[in-house]
């Protein structure tokens, strides 16, 4: 399994998201190659179809397929928690489902 972890340093959410990802991987005993990629420019965001930071793809599939089609931009990405609240990081459930 390959996990691409794309982030933009201008948004402070990526350390929390990476920690959550590592926690879910450990809890499930999943060995995966996590490839971090920093996005530096709007041009690069467009090339990578990067809808915001952080973006996590498991074997090429976004953990939040609905949000993946948002306009590429250097911005904080919005995720939605199971209770409907917005969050700058994916929910644990989103990660777990993507890794299932």
């Amino acid at each position: 399994m390959r996990i691409d972890f794309l982030f933009w340093r201008g948004c402070p959410s990526h350390p929390e998201a990476r920690e959550l990802l590592d926690d879910v991987l450990a809890a499930r005993g999943i060995e995966a190659e996590v490839v971090e990629q920093e996005v530096f420019s709007e041009e690069e965001a467009r090339e990578l179809a990067f809808p915001g930071s952080p973006t996590v793809r498991v074997d090429g599939r976004d953990v939040d397929p609905e949000g993946a089609s948002a306009r590429p931009a250097l911005t904080c990405r919005i995720y939605y928690l199971p209770d409907g609240r917005s969050s700058p990081v994916p929910s644990r459930r989103q990660l777990e489902e993507a890794l299932a």
Partner: protein, 175 residues
Amino acid sequence: MTVALGTDAPQFDLPGLNGQNHSLDSYTGAEALVLVQSCNHCPYVQAWEDRLSAIARDYEGRGVRVVAVNSNDAENYPEDSFEEMQARATARGFAFDYLYDEPQAVARELGAERTPEVFVYDRDRRLVYHGAIDDSRDETAVSQQYLRDALDAVLGGEEPAVSETPAVGCTVKWK
């Protein structure tokens, strides 16, 4: 560069969601004025906006006015346009004024870097607190109520015990 504590509040004259302009003088008489660099599209702003409304309601009777200012570049971030501001404020029932700083002049004068980023001014409109609303975007994990504590202090005629904290959020989207 962010303004220093003690600095005077910026002059402004910006359109509000009710179609009327709001200036610094519009808030004359307020015991304290809270300016919040804000926007629509940022998940950190969204995480805090209900708490900001609660603070606006809780302190209104004590003479505090809360004013959010969106200075983001709406051309590159269309979710932050004036029309989208109107839609979000209505949908979320904002209890605070929400002004559109299309020229980004207020953000520049404040030296704002993040959304949300709070600036509290006392009755003389001197900056007495700058930074975060509280210490966690997760409302269930909040242990420090920075903004409420600052307002309680200034309404009691005292300087806030904590006057500067790091604002955590998205960057201001400059043109």
